[in-house]
């Protein structure tokens, strides 16, 4: 055998061996693309590939939930971690989305600026302050990122205490939650309902103080949801079930050990571990899909004119508990239905 033919044989053999190794897992398990956003509650989704059994998960990080949802409905990814509000909005626009699992709830907090002397949960004090400011012609400036879970939580909580966001205060929309701290720092707004980890950052840096967790309203503390499309369910039912299985495993892991969660936040955002640890105090890993609160969100969004149609029927119909039931061996009555 000449040197040339020996080299050729070796290279060909190495190539074939590498190809076989690379394709081996694909032959055993299907691959699903799973998108998730960049927030404290969303980032542990990066751990799902290592928890997956019977499916290859390609976890893809996006900047925002909107980007994740757009990628899902345009069929660039197969499954997505979005918010309950995204789910309702997508149904309103006629998109094919099916909710298959919960993920993490909570993460909303109402904080007040340094100049506002209000004790935690002093709603009467807040109402008095709003009335005083209104009388002076300088309405209290209340901010949130319009259309996200914190916006809905805050509007619901304020409404429950008899405060109308559209009439009693001046609502300021700050679309990017990472801008909340700076706005509060400069005194441009008085009150903000923000999301973790920014809420913890605001408290720990002394920019603002805690006022309330806005969960005492119809939408509860619902935040994140795992959704897919009906064509993905039809074509890859086993892979979807296995992915839901990895989400359930993730939720159980996060409940028992938050160190991995802190580490993943630190890895993806470079955020201080102390802030991340604090942020997770306001997080509830939960794979259940809470039907009643979901429908309440749909109603609230319609009342706020965030959506134009009544999608409560579709919202209920597209909650698919099949995979959760199969993975957890629990009936849907115990899974939020």
């Amino acid at each position: 055998m000449t040197f040339r033919s020996l080299t050729l044989t070796t290279v060909t053999a190495a190539f074939l061996a590498l190809s076989a190794a690379a394709t081996a897992p694909a032959a055993d398990a299907e691959t699903l693309k799973l998108g998730f956003a960049k927030c404290a509650h969303c980032l542990p989704m990066a751990l799902t590939p290592e928890l997956a059994k019977g499916v290859e998960i390609e976890a893809i990080n996006f900047n925002s939930g909107n980007d994740v949802l757009t990628a899902l409905v345009s069929k660039s990814i197969d499954m997505a971690q979005v918010t309950y509000l995204h789910y309702i909005t997508a149904l309103d626009k006629g998109f094919d989305v099916v909710a298959v699992s919960g993920q993490v709830n909570g993460g909303s907090e109402i904080v007040v600026g340094k100049g506002i002397a209000l004790k935690a949960d002093d709603w009467d004090g807040l109402k008095k302050l709003i009335a005083e400011r209104k009388e002076k012609g300088e309405p209290l400036r209340v901010a949130a990122s319009r259309g996200n879970a914190q916006d809905i939580h805050m509007r619901g909580a304020l409404q429950k205490h008899g405060i109308n966001v559209n009439k009693d205060v001046q609502f300021i929309n700050i679309p990017n939650p990472s801008d909340h701290a700076a706005a509060l720092q400069r005194g441009e707004v008085d009150v903000i309902c923000t999301v973790e980890p920014f809420a913890s950052q605001i408290r720990q840096t002394g920019v603002g103080t805690h006022f309330a967790l806005p969960y005492d309203q119809a939408a509860g503390n619902l935040t994140n949801l795992i959704v897919t499309r009906s064509d993905v369910i039809k074509d890859h039912p086993k892979a979807v079930e296995a992915t839901v299985g990895s989400v359930v495993a993730l939720v159980d892991k996060l409940k028992s050990d938050q160190t991995v969660w802190v580490d993943v936040i630190n890895k993806y955002t470079g955020m201080d571990k102390a802030v991340a640890t604090e942020a997770l105090k306001n997080a509830s890993p939960d794979y259940a899909i809470h039907k009643d609160s979901t429908l309440a969100i749909a109603t609230m969004m319609r009342e706020l004119k965030y959506i134009s149609n009544d999608v409560t029927a579709a919202a209920e119909k597209n909650l698919d508990y099949t995979f959760l039931e199969a993975v957890t061996k629990k009936p849907k009555s115990e899974l939020g239905f």
Partner: protein, 268 residues
């Protein structure tokens, strides 16, 4: 070639794109809400402008207010960029000591994307209009500055020599020789700058403003209103085109000595 046939030539490509887009959207290849057909976008845009059936929900009939808000921010940011960019550009191009002291810093700041200035813009200027104007300024400033420097540095040395020999002072040289000689280049910078200024409206209006085309675009994306997103994009494009056309008219008037001697004047 008649004016009618010239107009037809200009319309061919946009009409072809619109027709292909309409056919593709109606083919059902993608969900209709994901890529709304031009007819749907036009309908939504019409409601945004005239407010006839609330298709655009809370934005119905608010287009002129939004366009005015954006145009005001663009005008303010662009205006500051024009004044500072041209003055600093002339100074850097004319005086070596200014070039040595200022240009390295400018060149270092130039590649920094305007969007990355948002946190500092909020810390310095708070929320609403001021940071938005600052971001528009950043987008327009550097093209105007760089083109002005180029225009000054490439001014015909013989003209400067001739004016000097006739006893012109430095101020007279700058005003009557260098500045006019740099004008073609400055106008090129102004045209690039106005495009950049409009491009920055979406980024600028992310910072807690309450109105504007960029604000509507961003807000609509939150609620998956791709028809409004596209209408906002088209609005920004049209206003950008209109302001560029305005600068071209100004350029034509200011550079009257070029009439008949350049390719542009030949094309009309």
């Amino acid at each position: 070639m008649t004016a009618l046939s010239k107009s037809w030539e200009r319309a061919v490509v946009p009409l072809f794109i619109l027709a292909a887009w309409e056919v593709f959207s109606r083919s059902g290849f993608l969900p209709a809400a994901l890529l709304p057909a031009p007819s749907v976008v036009l309908h939504t845009w019409g409601d945004w402008i005239f407010g006839f059936d609330e298709t655009s929900q809370g934005n119905t009939g608010r287009w002129f207010a939004d366009a005015l808000s954006s145009a005001t921010r663009v005008a303010a940011g662009y205006g500051i960029a024009v004044v500072s960019g041209v003055l600093l550009g002339i100074a850097i191009g004319w005086w070596r000591w200014v070039e040595r002291t200022v240009e390295p810093t400018i060149q270092m700041l130039r590649p920094v994307p305007p969007v990355s200035w948002i946190p500092l813009a909020i810390i310095w200027f708070g929320i609403a209009n001021k940071p938005a104007i600052f971001l528009v300024f950043l987008g327009a400033f550097f093209p105007i500055l760089m083109n002005t420097i180029h225009g000054v540095k490439t001014a015909d040395r013989n003209l400067i020599r001739a004016a000097s020999m006739m006893g012109a002072t430095e101020q007279q040289l700058l005003r009557h020789v260098v500045f006019p000689a740099a004008l073609p280049s400055i106008f090129a910078g102004l045209r690039i700058g106005i495009g950049a200024a409009w491009m920055l409206t979406v980024t600028a209006e992310m910072v807690a403003v309450k109105s504007g085309l960029g604000y509507v675009l961003w807000d609509s994306y939150y609620f998956l209103r791709y028809d409004l997103v596209l209408a906002a994009m088209a609005s920004i494009g049209l206003l950008g085109y209109a302001t560029d056309a305005l600068i071209k008219v100004l350029m034509s008037a200011a550079l009257h000595w070029q009439h008949g001697s350049t390719l542009q004047s030949r094309e009309g």
